[in-house]
């Protein structure tokens, strides 16, 4: 539930640091990247190019996509080496 005007901080300030994490920009997506782990060569190019840090990496390896923040720009799928083809785009189904 969003607050009414009386409860908002004065001057439209954001009174806490790092609150962008609460703003799930993944809502904007019209296309969704699909990660195929069986085809991934772990080059990490997608991780380097993703403008929203939405490629999830654990222990130095790509493990998936953070759909809370992925805006579906498709850069990861475009930059994934063609021979690998580990990320493909499909239409977002809400």
């Amino acid at each position: 539930m969003k607050e009414g005007w009386r409860k908002l901080p004065l001057g439209a300030i954001i009174p806490e640091a790092g609150s962008a994490e609460k703003f799930h920009t993944g809502d904007w997506r019209s296309e969704r990247p699909i990660y195929h782990p069986d085809k991934c060569i772990q080059c990490l190019i997608c991780f380097i190019y993703c403008p929203d840090s939405a490629i999830k990496v654990e222990d130095g390896k790509v493990v998936g996509i953070d759909y809370d923040f992925c805006k579906g720009c498709g850069i990861c799928a475009k930059e994934c080496p063609p021979k690998a083809g580990a990320i493909t785009m499909e239409r977002e189904m809400k």
Partner: protein, 389 residues
């Protein structure tokens, strides 16, 4: 201490005593002296202020906003075109709820180019979210600048204090100034508010705010203005208790048994008071209403006050260029709508571009308003007093 000061000198003196953290300013006639004199205070080490000599008024207000966002006590000064160039930033200062005090010397807006007094500059900024206080003379300007610091920090809104260009800004008057110590004790340290340099409580100011929250934030700002009048009044009362001088939201002169009144603003109100005295000597029951606080517009006080007269003449040193008349006239009409008693009102637009208004002309206005009071009829609701036809 009694001293001789021009309006500009009085405002600069108040700024010296306030000792703000930051002043960012650009010179413009007739307000140049305020910041020029203040910059001498900075040079001579009489204040602790960081003086930022910027390249335009847009930059001046931008720097003031930045400094205020960082938690500083901030002041500046300007006039006319300079205020117009600040226009964009005025709204931002207000919406960010930053306590900034702006000394404005009223001067007409170009074109044709002119450096003399009318109120078109500040009235063009009336919807920017700033509190506006129009003063009559150097003494009031001095006191109001000090009060404005307190008001802005309580209401969390920026405040502009105005004097009439040249008539007051360059006119020498006898004024009573406070001791530096008294001013500094009265103002104290500015109350703590969320700011960008507080590394223990990091905040973001001015983020993008779209359909989802802008309306709520704007509504909150509107409430800030709607509830600011009690702060202005409380500061006026405290100031009187401490220092003896009192300035009401709406100043009145000899209205108690007055049949009709004239409303004015700024230095012309002082001239009109002389006319009231003259006419009272002839047994004519006239009085004066001087609008001092125009933003927030003191609608309830004005409605209450104005209903008691048989007629009111409203002097405006500006025109809205809307076909409706001058600013005070338009807003007074709005206030009177649905009032139980609606006295006839007539608008006298005068003094544009610094055209003098004489005692005789103001007396003519009073005489005409007395006639309107008797007949109840206004044939021509908006007239231009002192213009060559």
């Amino acid at each position: 201490m009694i001293v001789a000061r021009t309006g500009n000198e009085a405002m600069a003196e108040a700024m010296r005593q306030v000792n703000p953290d930051v002043v960012a300013a650009y010179p413009i006639t007739p307000a140049t002296e305020i910041v020029q004199i203040f910059s001498s205070f900075v040079h001579d080490g009489l204040v602790d202020t960081k003086f930022v000599a910027v390249e335009s008024e847009h930059s001046a207000m931008s720097a003031c906003i930045g400094a205020a966002a960082a938690g500083a006590r901030v002041m500046t000064g300007t006039a006319s075109q300079g205020l117009a160039l600040m226009h964009e930033m005025l709204f931002i200062a207000a919406a960010l709820r930053l306590p900034i005090v702006l000394c404005v010397v009223n001067r007409s807006l170009s074109a044709p180019i002119n450096i003399h007094c009318d109120h078109s500059d500040t009235l063009a900024s009336r919807d920017s979210g700033w509190i506006q206080i129009y003063t009559e003379n150097s003494q009031e300007a001095y006191d109001s600048v000090i009060q404005a610091v307190k008001i802005s920090e309580r209401a969390l809104l920026p405040v502009m204090v105005t004097i009439d260009g040249f008539i007051i800004s360059h006119g020498m008057e006898r004024i009573d100034i406070l001791d530096d110590r008294e001013v500094r004790e009265y103002l104290g340290e500015p109350p703590k508010r969320p700011n960008l340099l507080d590394i223990d409580k990091p905040i973001t100011m001015g983020p993008l705010d779209l359909q989802d929250y802008f309306f709520e934030h704007k509504r909150s700002e509107i409430e800030g203005m709607n509830t600011s009048l009690p702060h202005i009044e409380a500061v006026a009362r405290e100031y009187k208790e401490r220092f003896g001088r009192y300035y009401p939201v709406i100043d009145t002169y000899r209205i108690d048994d007055a049949e009709v009144a004239v409303m004015a603003m700024g230095s012309a109100a002082g001239t009109a008071k002389v006319v009231v005295d003259r006419m009272r000597e002839k047994g004519k029951k006239v009085g004066l209403i001087r609008m001092r606080v125009v933003r927030p517009f003191p609608k309830n006080y004005l409605k209450e006050l104005i209903q008691g007269f048989a007629a009111v003449g409203i002097m405006d040193r500006s025109d809205t260029l809307s076909t409706l008349g001058g600013h005070l006239y338009v807003e007074t009409r709005a206030v009177l709508y649905r009032a139980s008693h609606q006295p006839p009102i007539k608008n006298y637009i005068y003094g544009l571009g610094g055209r003098d208004i004489s005692l005789e002309e103001i007396e003519e206005i009073f005489e005409e308003v007395l006639e309107i009071g008797k007949s109840g009829k206004v044939t021509e609701p908006v007239v231009y007093k002192g213009v060559r036809e």
